[in-house]
């Protein structure tokens, strides 16, 4: 199928609205952390393109790569937003399989990182204007800076997304029909362990002493060796946490528990 101009505009707009820095769709809670998750984005992209089942099927695989994505202050991480809003519509349009879609989304996620630094640099312009307005007593104007200043982020989201999906579809169809198996295989190997990067960043925050890694290993073993499902793991985790909490309280009270 062909992505029409209107569809490309709607998808690029939704991509901008669910970007981490966009305030207009209820901020990060409704935008970035809810509709912006690839699994949820897939539903909306599917509605726009009129093919929900295919979009959900591919969205699921993109979601799995980014399930552990953490974006701690200021650090540059793979660009899940652009990856989702470029690879998913193109995947639906060109009827790509999950492996090809994952490969394309990883490619986009990493290439898109070149925009992170210029994006931050250009954001300094409205920030400095706001500073100057407060200093000059233009208080009402200063309040409005975060609204129009977000236009910088719009440029770095809407344009690349729109251009990639609207003008990229012909190229992608060609690549999909001509891409060699070895390239797809390499991208699959590359993508398979990708969620570990996000988890490693998280572990850096959470592991206070080396023995804390045992908890990670415990969760790993529950699934790997015992085949436990998510809810079961959560129950075990809560039991361990509760015991640890009670021991901690008892130790501070100085009594037995």
């Amino acid at each position: 199928m062909q992505i029409s101009l209107i569809q490309a505009i709607l998808i690029a707009l939704l991509g901008y609205l669910t970007f981490i820095h966009t305030p207009f769709l209820g901020g990060g809670l409704i935008g970035w952390y809810c509709i912006g998750r690839p699994l949820v984005s897939a539903l909306f992209i599917g509605i726009i393109l009129g093919n929900i089942p295919k979009a959900m099927e591919l969205g699921l695989y993109i979601q799995l790569i980014f399930i552990g994505l953490i974006t701690p202050g200021g650090s540059i991480t793979p660009d899940m937003n652009l990856a989702t809003y470029v690879a998913l519509p193109l995947g639906v349009a060109a009827n790509m399989d999950s492996g090809q879609t994952v490969a394309l989304s990883l490619l986009v996620a990493n290439v898109a990182n070149v925009m992170a630094t210029p994006n931050f640099a250009m954001t300094m312009i409205p920030v400095n204007i706001q500073k100057k307005m407060v200093a000059d007593g233009k208080l009402e104007e200063a309040v409005w800076v975060p609204i129009w200043g977000n236009g910088v982020k719009f440029l770095f989201r809407f344009i690349p997304t729109f251009v990639s999906i609207y003008y990229g579809q012909a190229a992608i169809e060609w690549i999909v029909t001509n891409s060699p198996q070895w390239l797809i295989d390499i991208m699959t190997i590359f993508g398979n362990p990708m969620c570990l990067v996000g988890f490693a960043i998280l572990l850096k925050l959470m592991v206070k002493k080396p023995t804390d890694l045992i908890y990670f290993t415990f969760g790993f073993a529950l699934v790997g060796a015992l085949g436990a499902d998510m809810i079961t793991v959560l129950v075990f985790a809560l039991v361990v946490a509760l015991i640890q909490f009670q021991i901690g309280r008892a130790a501070k009270k100085g009594g037995a528990f």
Binding site: I67, T77, R249
Partner: protein, 274 residues
């Protein structure tokens, strides 16, 4: 300017604007500060009616750097709003105290917020949502939206409002209470176990190396390692990645480049399989 009281309307206005705009002008220099300036700018007439000089001071106070995990950490703008309202009634709340409380709280909330929200709660919900998404059904996406917003909107509103009500007392309660250490420690443990579970369930490392003689496979390294301990290759990859990021201070980008090189070399040597 004696009878300034935070009304529900003011708190709601501040909450909505914080929740929407916290990252709108995010950049490495002052990070989330422009959103605080907007939040207080919108309430400047309520806090200091007609006093332009005080209004300007109020907004200028929040121009410098501020950064935390903006959603669970929304209790901090709440606390600061409570303190600013108290200051506006004429109470003795020095500027330094407001800055000190912001600085003291933003680090802990950044750490625990990232660990709890994108580190634990979101992956759990997504893992369940992905499990529900079979054959292109949108039910997993709907499940995620309903549960995530159904939990997070009330929780963040509660935190923000509590922060406003308690003001500086909340900071004292959080920083001076040893209960918080035990709670954070326990939640950290839940997070670590869940992360281990999801890493095991969703990461894959397939080793393609086989030693074959006369058509008989003598050594299948993948089966061998997984026989020692299920998903051992994934576990080892996770540990190496953690070690490089935490101990060698590698950036995420550098790790991803390493993964790419390993994937290419692994594919052409036949050591790794898709």
């Amino acid at each position: 300017m004696s009878n300034i009281k935070l009304t529900d309307k003011m708190i709601r206005n501040a909450y909505i604007n914080w929740m929407c705009f916290n990252l709108a002008l995010y950049q490495p220099e002052t990070m989330q500060a422009p959103a605080l300036v907007r939040m207080f700018g919108l309430l400047r007439e309520d806090l200091y009616p007609g006093d332009k000089e005080k209004q300007q001071e109020l907004m200028a106070r929040h121009l410098p750097f501020f950064n935390t995990e903006p959603f669970l950490g929304c209790i901090i703008p709440g606390i600061i709003l409570g303190m600013e309202a108290e200051k506006a009634t004429g109470a003795d709340v020095p500027d330094e105290l407001i800055t000190a409380i912001k600085s003291a709280l933003m680090g802990p909330f950044a750490g625990i917020g990232d660990a709890l929200l994108p580190g634990t709660f979101i992956p759990i919900l997504l893992a369940i949502g992905c499990g529900l998404t079979q054959d292109g059904s949108p039910i997993g996406a709907i499940f995620y939206m309903v549960v995530f917003l159904g939990v997070m909107v009330p929780v963040t509103w509660f935190l923000f409002k509590k922060g406003c009500e308690l003001g500086a007392n909340a900071a004292e309660l959080i920083l001076g209470n040893d209960l918080k250490d035990d709670i954070i420690h326990a939640l950290n443990t839940v997070g670590l176990i869940v992360v281990g579970c999801i890493a095991c369930a969703y990461a894959n490392v397939n080793i393609g190396f086989k030693f074959v003689r006369d058509g008989v496979t003598l050594v299948d390294l993948h089966a061998l390692l997984n026989g020692v301990w299920p998903k051992l290759p994934v576990y080892l990859t996770a540990m190496v990645t953690y070690w490089l990021i935490a101990k060698k201070n590698w950036s995420a980008m550098k790790i991803i480049m390493l993964y790419l090189v390993v994937a290419i070399v692994g594919y052409f040597t036949g050591f790794l399989a898709p």
